[in-house]
Symmetry: C2
Subunit: 139 residues, 2 copies
């Protein structure tokens, strides 16, 4: 059975593609570059993952962080696994800037819902860069 | 030169001891069991850590999560590296319960400052358990 994405994650994000272990999503709210990695595992919490899989996830997090830090010229990358609302294991990787609307606070529960969205052109350019720098393939 | 703890972290937390790579703190606000690991590294962001050190940190996070999940009978462990306010690299490990005052939201910026504190007895019992189950030694 293929690994299915939780409906809330599907609703929240653009599916950019597939890394070695995880699906890569971009949150539809474009006020902050907010990525979500969804590893294809049964575990619902980080500490319940098999060690090798957790390492693979964290390698993906680190590689993605390096690329988005350069791409968005951000000041800080916020990384988190929370899952209080969506139980499927997922990891947030968020490019934060001092001039973003939530700085220095966190984004969860605080990002204005302004309807700001990623243009098709912005999504295509970003995806192209991620495909060039990560082993991202179409889902 | 010994690794010095950022004054804000020192202010926010009880120092419980030292793991292999990280100092272990417990946030003074006792409304939620909120741990902070401070790895003794120069890097200020997760993706800038040497791979082996990042793995060691995440092994510490996972081991701590397993112990606190059982100890506090929590529903979810939230794990995050944010650092928008305190640049020294630190990783939050928070035992969340459906009946805690922030659920299902995150704790950052949302935890009531009620002055609820850990008793000396609670700290001693918790530290004893952590010393028994993790390689935690006095700092």
């Amino acid at each position: 059975m293929p690994h299915s994405l939780h409906p809330q994650l599907q609703h929240d994000g653009h599916l950019l593609g597939q890394l070695g272990l995880s699906r890569l999503l971009l949150h539809r709210n474009a006020l902050v570059p907010w990525f979500i990695l969804v590893p294809e595992v049964e575990a619902t919490q980080l500490h319940r993952m098999a060690v090798e899989q957790r390492r693979e996830l964290m390698d993906e997090v680190a590689a993605l962080s390096t690329v988005v830090e350069a791409y968005f010229e951000c000041d800080r990358v916020n990384v988190a696994t929370i899952g209080n609302q969506v139980p499927q294991l997922h990891c947030h990787v968020i490019a934060r800037r001092r001039d973003d609307p939530c700085w220095p606070g966190v984004v969860w529960g605080r990002l204005p819902e302004t309807g700001t969205t990623w243009s098709a052109q912005a999504l295509a350019t970003l995806t192209e860069r991620l495909q060039a720098e990560l082993e991202l393939r179409p889902d």
